[in-house]
Symmetry: C2
Subunit: 243 residues, 2 copies
DNA sequence: GACTTTTAATTGTCATACAATTAAAAATAA
DNA sequence: TTATTTTTAATTGTATGACAATTAAAAGTC
């Protein structure tokens, strides 16, 4: 691992890049301890603060974890699905909010992915996924529920649907798409009328999944997508006329 | 924005978190300049190196960019789709390699997403996506092509298919799934026999997209998935018997 | 042998200094 | 005046050295 002191990039960025590549290439296996900060500064011929900046860059990406104390140090971190979810969610959230992605586009992506999952989910879903979906539907029909809680329950419902596919890679991919839309969804006020409509569709989806009927699940999801976009457009239209 | 000096977490992690939340909440708009490092260290009552470690954490996530000089500083970065791709790819790659995700699981996720895209792509595809797909098919049938180049062309083909859906959010999501599988795909040796089989399927896909026939595209993709998994299993079986 | 204390290694934080970069301001020349 | 050059000031990048906090192992003690 070498760095170029005359490069235009920061030394800490170069060092982080070098270590990152070593991790990706598998040269540094999971739980391997990196040399101490003092040793790294000697190896790369830079100061300790520079090394530390590099390590913090890696820590920010969950590539390493650090521990203090005698046997401490920086260790290659096993990237967990949980860590990956979190990163995926912030990245997707910022992507949507900073790039003027329309609600419709985000919604289309989300439901395209979700319909792909529903196929698998109707084959494989297990009792607990179905139970979660039913429980969330029940929660959604409680009268006093706030809009935020309704949205959160909505996310949980769709999460169970996706997890039912039994493919962690799909779950991870979709977590971003679903949760990144939360801010937009929270802007929608869900009237009693719209809630009952959504609950009806959720019930149809759960029924279809339970009956191992992918086509019915697909149709219900398509309707839900159309309905969600319509609700959002109504909100946008209402704001435009009376700001 | 406040931090807790008695928290178990590093000061730099807390500061990074606080700024990150402000960015996500939209309190710090794109291209806004953060206070200088000296000012931040006063505000948070920490030293400059600590502030710098926090800023490097944010830079590693493409949340800010820094500039030297008189009018320099740290600026809130507009997270581009390109930056997001890159993050998505490394995260997905590490997720697969570090968590013993089977080739089959990864492949299933990839094709589930890709088939979802193909639906949209067959409705919307424009001339240039189709042209790219045809060009890559042509490249793949060149005799002297190395396995790496064949794989790269394969990625380009699927990329065009996905981009044909005209939904940047989908393209971003899938970039990870497709490119993260590159390392696994590169382990497969593509015989002349398997290449021609793949090329035939690619041609069927391109034809279906051109003819606006989502069902045919879906069927061809399903076959391609089955065939890819079979190829991979053959490689694994061959390694097991003769290591 | 079990418990306590000491020690050494390591990361976390701080203070300070200087180098490198850059845009604006000031000075100079045409 | 205008164009060019020089100076200046602000800012990030890097280095050095020091000390605090943490932790496991080693040494000591009962």
């Amino acid at each position: 691992m070498k760095i170029d002191p005359n490069s235009s990039k920061d030394l800490s960025a170069q060092i982080a890049q070098a270590i990152k590549e070593a991790i990706i290439a598998g040269q540094l296996p999971v739980d391997e301890r990196l040399p101490s900060e003092a040793e790294l500064s000697e190896q790369f011929d830079v100061s300790r603060p520079t090394v530390r900046e590099a390590l913090k860059r890696l820590a920010a990406q969950s590539l390493i974890r650090t521990q203090r104390g005698a046997t401490g140090g920086a260790f290659v971190n096993r990237l967990s699905f949980e860590d990956a979810y979190a990163q995926q969610i912030t990245t997707s959230t910022l992507l949507l909010s900073m790039n003027a992605v329309s609600f419709e586009t985000a919604c289309e992506a989300r439901y395209a992915l979700e319909r792909a999952c529903a196929q698998l989910s109707s084959q494989r879903r297990e009792a607990d996924h179905l139970a979660t979906m039913r429980a969330e539907i029940h929660r959604q029909s409680q009268p006093g529920l706030s809009d935020e809680a309704f949205c959160a329950s909505d996310v949980a419902f769709h999460r169970a649907l996706v997890d039912g596919a039994g493919n962690p890679v799909l779950s991870y991919q979709l977590a971003g798409a679903v949760e990144a839309m939360q801010p937009s969804m929270n802007m929608i006020t869900f009237s009693a009328r719209s809630r009952s409509e959504i609950i009806a569709l959720h019930t149809r989806i759960a029924d279809a999944i339970e009956a191992h009927a992918p086509d019915k699940a697909d149709a219900a999801l398509a309707e839900l997508q159309t309905y969600t976009v319509k609700l959002a457009n109504d909100v946008i239209a209402a704001r435009a006329t009376k700001p």
